[in-house]
Symmetry: C2
Subunit: 234 residues, 2 copies
């Protein structure tokens, strides 16, 4: 690895760490807009998406420039290819956070309704996954990446509890069905953000250990309910 | 472009066209499992996911090999980078089709309930988008790619009508709430498959015209309801 390549790689890594920080902040703000019924904050989150999109375009250009200039091979090439993928994941996460803000905006216009009890826990877990998946990439830390993959099960469990709670509300209060659907969708978007963090973490394990766990999650450890037919994941 | 590079590129393109065909077929089967309450078919779709995952890993390896071997620059480099991204999109689409099959499996266990009237139309539109976005890429056809982007609005409109219909059912038949949520989720997954096709089409326009429409959809044409706050998109 030449000094120039290393410098360019480090610059790229700092950028994607910065993007991850922005995603975390966006998720926090979107969920706060939801729980505090703050439509102004929801609108702010929706408008802030342009910055993240712009950043994604620039990171992609930087990756292509590095590929053309340094023509990396082997592990260096894999790292740049991984950054290209992570970059897309981060942009999709930001989009999902904006989708949450859209639900928050709609929710704030409707009737008051209790927020599902595990939503904050799910938000915190998701943000830990976002941060740790990126840290795992930059530090090439497979153990940390595996921990991120395992956290995803807790997020899925939160999501299932939230859905159960919402179904209960819908059955007894038909007038709250639209509001419950706003929360249902927000919870699903959050769960998908955690899925993207899991994708990144799986790529890290593959990069470090040269082992494809992405499509062989059984290599992680026995998962209690992963994708079982008819499981309550929506 | 050397003869070898062209040959390798063509091979890659045939592979992603094949993947797209598989995605279409998977979507069709998953929706059929849903509408015909066929849990056996749903299980078959869920089990078929391994093939597509395997294919994704192989295409990624092939891209990296081409980058290392031919060290393409400029437009050739962009094409390979685009295939890397399309490959990820196709794998996510297949995952979403499997998510639909999971909902189909759950739906088949529950009470009978009418399928929303526009679901088949939405499925057909989505599959056209999947096929045409890939065709647009292989033929570098920006006009076709733009048509794919415009079709996405029709898919979103179908999704909104379906959600409206389902909310109506939930309000009058609380006993059908779980079943309606299965259909709600299936419709959302389908809409997300169309979003991935749109991502691919936007990348094609960018590749052909060097113009970033990905994050500037207004460059396409005025969109009636794109991301407006509180719009009924879930």
């Amino acid at each position: 690895m030449t000094i120039h390549f290393r410098r360019d790689l480090e610059h790229l890594q700092q950028r994607i760490l910065g993007q991850a920080g922005q995603v975390e902040q966006t998720v926090d703000r979107a969920i706060r807009a939801l729980t505090e019924r703050d439509s102004q904050l929801a609108l702010q989150v929706m408008e802030g998406d342009n910055t993240i999109d712009q950043e994604e375009n620039e990171v992609e250009e930087e990756c292509l420039k590095i590929l053309a200039l340094h023509q990396p091979v082997a592990v260096d090439l894999r790292r740049i290819a991984a950054i290209l993928k992570i970059n897309t994941d981060l942009e999709r996460m930001a989009d999902l956070a904006v989708n949450i803000a859209e639900r928050a905006h709609a929710f704030a216009q409707g009737q008051p309704m209790a927020i599902p009890s595990r939503l904050q826990e799910m938000t915190d877990l998701t943000n830990i996954m976002v941060r740790d998946s990126l840290d795992a990439f930059v530090r090439m830390d497979a153990a940390l990446a595996r921990r991120v993959c395992r956290l995803d099960e807790q997020v899925d469990a939160c999501n299932r509890d939230i859905i159960r709670e919402l179904i209960g509300v819908m059955k007894t209060r038909p007038d709250l069905i639209e509001q419950a659907l706003n929360l249902f969708s927000a919870s699903r978007h959050l769960e998908r953000i955690a899925d993207h963090a899991t994708n990144i973490a799986e790529d890290v394990v593959y990069l470090v250990e040269g082992e494809i766990i992405r499509h062989h999650p059984e290599a992680l450890q026995p998962r209690a309910d992963n994708g079982k037919p008819g499981s309550p994941e929506r």
